[in-house]
């Protein structure tokens, strides 16, 4: 709220003008009734033409100002809410960029997206009603004051009627909350069943489960219908009452008014004024009730946003210092490196290893032995729990992710490509010549399929563009790494979906470049055999190293090698 004072000031100004003109309009209508309408029609000729014009102009003018004030109020209130949304959104994405890796591991992508979209939407949905509430308070105060001036009994009717309306509204909102929430949950469930069933349509068909699936959806939909009927029932009970209550109030006013007119306490115009006010006032009061239905949802969303904004950014060394520390050599040293998950499970246990510049090393180990953790640590994606990793003698922690990026190009298990052109995906933010692009595409045996795409390297891939196969995506990811001309390349199972023949060709190409250090996490014997040295990783430690043939004597390694051999497609 405090962050965007101008928008809120504009909103409050508009709101106050609105409240004033609403009450002003009813007073004008009342006076016009007394001074123009009644004498003009009951006693023809008694009202001068000029007076009629004044009355018309007055009604139109006050009405016009009322309409304009609504525009001002709505615009600035909207602006305030949108500015707040923007501020939150920027803060959240900044936090996404700077949070430590563990932050992501504990949340699903869906959740992260919801924070940046649905949660912000929900949290800010409270802002406009709040601003509107301020307006309504001013309006009610002015309205009651104007009625008090006319006659205290009129004010009394208002003070009885509008709180009743508000309370009934509140009771209705409360009562409807639970079934409405259940209905909402059921909508999710029904959608989930439909989605699962149609996504798995092949399995449904092969199992002949069509009827069972319809039955499953039918049960959930029936439940949804019941909840909706419960909501509908409440609405059926309350809606007509809430709608008719102001009318009843007007009838009471009429009765009271005529009696007071008879006693000479008020004029007919004043009764009309009060009745007009009732006719206008019920809408804001009711709208307010509906708007505050969103309140609990909004508070929950706000908590979630605060949860994200409360995350400490990961430690990043000063970029200038990090850049000046980037070493020439890429000799890798792991000294007693331990890495444990937040829950204490140790993935790497005082592991030490070293890789000399120019060496090709294969990392072999069973699923869960910690191979990918080694890759992530070496790439500067997360800090070690204890121990030290250095590249060319410089601590990775001092280099930071940006410094490490100068030396190491990792190609990770899950390939990620932006929904952009192939060229943009490969080059990222640097300028790349066509020759250079072709060179790396050739190295990863991708030139052929890239040229066959409609626009060659300029083809947009991904969600809105061409869909590539897993193997093709992996090859592009390797090309992206090669384009950096990295001193150290890390391939984490990066060719798993590539055809074995093509894979062998790519690895041969990578090896051919002497002086490049290569660390490969591999599952295929053909890949492993290419390495100068094989490291066997078991339970978070290196338990054996040597050439493939040498290691075949180690029982754990021999078993893995046999499994790889049989599993190779």
């Amino acid at each position: 709220m405090r962050a965007h004072p101008w928008a809120h000031a504009g909103g409050i100004t508009g709101g106050t003008a609105f409240a004033t003109t609403v009450v002003g309009f009813t007073i004008v209508v009342g006076r016009v009734t007394d001074d123009v309408i009644i004498p003009g029609l009951d006693d023809p000729g008694s009202v001068a033409g000029r007076d009629i014009w004044v009355a018309v102009a007055l009604v139109a003018l006050v009405g016009l100002v009322r309409g304009l004030s609504v525009m001002v109020r709505r615009f600035f209130n909207f602006m305030g809410a949108m500015l707040t949304q923007r501020t939150w959104r920027l803060a959240i994405v900044d936090r996404y960029l700077d949070a430590p890796l563990n932050f992501y591991r504990s949340r699903s992508v869906g959740e992260l997206l919801a924070h940046a979209d649905a949660d912000i939407e929900a949290a800010s949905s409270m802002l406009m009603p709040l601003a509107f509430a301020v307006t309504v308070v001013v309006l009610v105060v002015l309205a009651v004051a104007s009625l008090l001036i006319v006659h205290p009994l009129f004010a009394l009717v208002a003070l009885l009627l509008f709180p009743t309306l508000a309370v009934l509204n509140q009771i209705y909102t409360r009562a409807v909350e639970a079934p409405a929430a259940r209905a909402q949950a059921m909508i999710g469930l029904v959608s989930g069943i439909a989605h699962e069933s149609l996504e798995g349509v092949l399995v449904v068909k092969t199992l002949g489960r069509e009827a069972a699936e319809v039955e499953r959806l039918s049960e959930a939909s029936e439940e949804l219908r019941r909840e909706r009927l419960a909501v509908g029932d409440l609405r059926a009970r309350f809606d007509p009452i809430l709608y008719s209550l102001p009318g009843i109030g007007v009838l009471v006013l009429l009765l009271l008014g005529v009696w007071l007119v008879g006693r000479g306490a008020v004029t007919i115009g004043e009764v009309v004024q009060a009745m007009t006010l009732f006719g206008i006032l019920w809408l804001p009061v009711q709208i307010l009730g509906f708007l505050f239905q969103e309140m609990p949802r909004s508070v929950v969303a706000m908590d979630r946003i605060d949860g994200v904004l409360g995350v400490e950014p990961e430690h990043r060394p000063d970029p200038n210092l990090a850049m000046s520390a980037v070493p020439e050599s890429v000799e890798v040293q792991f000294q007693d490196v331990t890495y444990a998950y937040p829950d204490g499970t140790r993935v790497l246990d005082e592991l030490s290893l070293s890789i000399a510049p120019g060496e090709v090393v294969a990392l072999v180990g069973a699923t869960g032995s910690g191979k990918s953790t080694i890759v992530a640590l070496l790439s500067g994606l997360m800090p070690v729990s204890s121990g030290r990793i250095s590249i060319g003698g410089v601590d990775v922690a001092d280099l930071g992710p940006d410094g490490v990026a100068q030396l190491v190009a990792p190609v990770l298990q899950e390939t990620f490509l932006f929904a952009d052109t192939i060229r943009a995906n490969l080059a990222l933010d640097v300028d790349v010549s066509d020759n250079e692009l072709r060179r790396v595409l050739r190295l990863v045996a991708a030139e052929g399929f890239v040229d066959e795409l409609p626009d060659g390297p300029e083809t947009i891939i991904g969600e809105r563009g061409v869909t590539l196969s897993g193997g093709q995506r992996q090859r592009l990811a390797i090309a992206r790494a090669l384009l950096r001309r990295p001193h150290l390349m890390v391939l984490d199972d990066a060719t798993s979906a590539v055809d074995p023949v093509v894979e062998a060709a790519i690895l041969d190409n990578l090896r051919a470049h002497r002086g490049r250090t290569l660390l490969v996490v591999a599952h295929r014997l053909a890949t492993i055999r290419l390495a100068d040295r094989v490291l066997l990783l078991e339970d978070g430690r290196i338990t054996a190293e040597g050439s493939h043939e040498q290691l075949l004597g180690v029982p754990g390694y021999a078993a893995l090698a046999r499994a790889y051999e049989e599993a190779t497609p």
């Binding site: 209508v29 309408i37 029609l41 009951d42 009202v47 009629i52 018309v56 139109a60 009405g63 309409g67 609504v70 615009f75 909207f78 923007r86 959104r89 994405v93 996404y96 960029l97 940046a116 959608s191 989930g192 149609l198 399995v203 449904v204 068909k205 092969t206 002949g208 489960r209 069509e210 069972a212 939909s221 909706r228 509908g232 029932d233 609405r235 059926a236 007509p240 008719s244 009318g247 009838l251 009429l254 005529v258 994606l381 992710p401 990026a405 932006f418 990222l428 969600e463 074995p500 023949v501 894979e503 062998a504 014997l525 053909a526 055999r529 043939e549 051999e565 049989e566 190779t568 497609p569």
Partner: protein
């Protein structure tokens, strides 16, 4: 303010299908209604009674201005007040109002009941119809769109039924009622009111169009923002290890700013539309007062009528505004309805045989014959050309070929997931088209490669293999495939939940579940579509052994991605561009000098290590 409408529910990747909207524009709301009525018997039941009661509801809303007029005109005679008359009039009006509350409650409940019955019926009928459509209609690209038919489209209709539809009914009746009362008081003043309001309709329409367009662009902007955020989150490792953080930050800030700017563009309409109608209303009040006082005596207008008119004008503006606001919702709902109706009209290609045409399948392993089978997907090129196959009962057959060679389509036809465009498939001598769904379910089992599981327990997923299977049947099937130790190794055994699509299990484990499921059915023909993705080595061995057990005593057709499967088969069928180009035992084909020999040689060279 909530942006939760059809477009959001659809989610990324689903086409918004602008064509459907154009269709309706051509067809008109009435024809949607007519088709919709025809498709939903629930909608026709008791319609006239509901309509009659709705009239009385709207009538109830006219009581107040009528009484005001009566009291102002008749309640005062000279200077005196006829209080008795006023009490009778106001009291009577109070009673009528209360009565109209009760009627409204009943009407409302009826309308909600009808609406919910219609929605339920429509959703279930559409869902059942979607499942009846052949697999050719269920391409992966369309899954989201088809799901939207029974989810977001029905929900759009539900939202409409709860707010929009009732608003249409009640408000349009109210508008007509108000105009009738006005006309009875004074047709001249009615004319004045209507003339002042006349420009409102085109102005409102124009502004709403612009507003819709602005919100449409806004939705695109929101989509763009979310697209970049999603990329940032998905690609976080690449973003960081390739030093792209600041570049991405720049992009994120840019799209967020551009979303904000579009929001403020939409804000213009948001703040303009509603007050504009109010201004027209006030103009009408001013015009009515002016002309009423000036000419009213000549027109025979009383002061009470003129005051009542002021109230009536207000009662005209509110429903017009409400209708304007529901216009957008109405369009979305009608578009959704239209799309649902189109689904219901989609012809079912794989029709089940009628009772008289059903022929039983023989028991045990089934011989497979394909006679001159051709296949093309609706409106596409032919995928299979004249396939002739004759497979002995109990034999094992491997189908190999490159992606797009037609091998998977061939397997689909054997399971009758689609029918051949021409030619026929015979199982155990019976045309597949005369086999009942139940027989097919029992005797023909395809194990698809994607290993999709339902989000429930392992045990339940297996049980889906055969209707009425008991716990011990499931355990027996597990034991028969030698998977006892695998199951006991799961956290909760058969009670382990598999997660969405089976995501808590590995690819290989999902396939194991699919195999046990098939074992439970005890089919005479087993069709296996091998997974292309890598399976971890330990599971792979378990899988191979389970497959061996499963294949015993059955005819097996495997769409093979690994040639070790072909090595073990009795016969190999080599597919190339929709034709079988080579067939015979592995040992013969491997040295025949054709496509298969080439495939086999390159596979061998890359997988066998020198040490073995």
């Amino acid at each position: 303010m909530t942006s939760f409408d059809g477009h959001d529910v659809l989610g990324p990747g689903d086409e918004p299908e602008p064509r459907a909207l154009d269709d309706i524009a051509g067809a008109g709301a009435l024809s949607v209604l007519r088709r919709g009525m025809a498709a939903s018997p629930e909608l026709r039941a008791g319609l006239s009674l509901s309509a009659l009661m709705t009239l009385s509801v709207a009538g109830g809303r006219l009581i107040v201005p009528l009484v005001i007029q009566f009291v102002l005109d008749r309640g005062f005679v000279g200077g005196a007040v006829r209080f008795g008359l006023v009490v009778i009039a106001a009291g009577g009006a109070l009673l009528l109002t209360v009565a109209s509350i009760f009627v409204s409650q009943i009407v409302y409940r009826r309308l909600v009941g009808v609406a919910e019955a219609v929605l339920l019926g429509l959703r279930l009928r559409t869902f059942a119809h979607l499942h009846r459509l052949s697999l050719a209609e269920h391409t992966s690209a369309k899954t989201g769109v088809l799901t939207a038919r029974v989810t977001s489209d029905v929900e759009a209709l539900a939202k409409f039924a709860q707010w929009g539809a009732i608003s249409w009914i009640v408000n349009s009746v109210q508008i007509v009622g108000v105009i009738v009362v006005m006309a009875v008081y004074s047709w001249q003043l009615t004319l004045v009111t209507l003339v002042v309001h006349l420009p409102l309709l085109p102005v409102l329409r124009d502004m709403q169009r612009r507003q819709l367009r602005a919100y449409d662009i806004l939705r695109t902007r929101v989509g763009e923002t979310m697209g970049v955020v999603a990329e940032t989150v998905h690609g976080l490792e690449v973003v960081r290890t390739y030093g792209q953080r600041e570049a991405v930050r720049g992009r994120l800030h840019k799209v967020i700013d551009s979303q904000y700017r579009q929001q403020m563009r939409a804000a213009r309409y948001f703040s303009l539309v509603l007050p504009s109608t109010d201004i027209f209303g006030v103009a009408a009040v001013a015009a009515v007062i002016g002309s009423g006082v000036y000419w009213g005596t000549g027109w025979g207008v009383t002061s009470g009528e003129l005051v009542a008119f002021v109230f009536l004008v207000n009662m005209l503006v509110t429903p017009i505004t409400s209708l304007g606001e529901t216009l957008d919702q109405t369009q979305t709902a009608l578009a959704g309805w239209w799309k649902i109706l189109n689904v219901l009209d989609t012809e079912v290609e794989v029709a089940e045989p009628s009772a008289g045409d059903v022929r039983p399948l023989p028991v045990g392993a089934l011989a497979v014959v394909a006679e001159d089978v051709e296949f093309s997907y609706r409106g596409s090129d032919r995928v299979l050309h004249g396939i002739d196959v004759d497979l002995e009962a109990g034999s094992s057959v491997a189908v190999v070929g490159e992606t797009g060679s037609g091998k998977t389509t061939f397997a689909m036809l054997l399971a009758r997931l689609a029918d051949p465009t021409s030619g026929r498939v015979l199982l155990g001598g019976v045309d597949l088209r005369s086999v009942s769904a139940e027989d097919r379910r029992g005797s023909v089992r395809m194990v698809p490669q994607d290993g999709f599981l339902f989000d429930t327990t392992v045990g339940n997923n297996i049980r889906f293999g055969r209707t009425g299977a008991t716990d011990s049947d499931v355990e027996d099937a597990v034991a028969e495939l030698g998977l006892g130790s695998w199951v006991s190794g799961l956290p909760l055994g058969l009670e382990t939940r598999v997660g969405e699509r089976g995501s808590s299990l590995s690819v290989g484990e999902r396939q194991l579940v699919a195999l046990v499921r098939a074992q439970l059915a005890d089919p005479g023909l087993l069709i296996l579509d091998e997974a292309t993705s890598a399976v971890d080595p330990e599971t792979e061995q378990t899988l191979e052994r389970a497959l061996e057990h499963l294949a015993e005593g059955r005819t097996t057709v495997s769409v093979a991605h690994r040639l070790s499967t072909a090595e073990r088969s009795d016969t190999v069928l080599v597919f190339d561009r929709g034709l079988i180009v080579e067939r015979g035992p592995h040992a013969e084909l491997a040295v025949a000098g054709g496509i298969y020999e080439g495939l086999y040689a390159s596979w061998l060279g890359n997988t066998r290590s020198q040490s073995s």
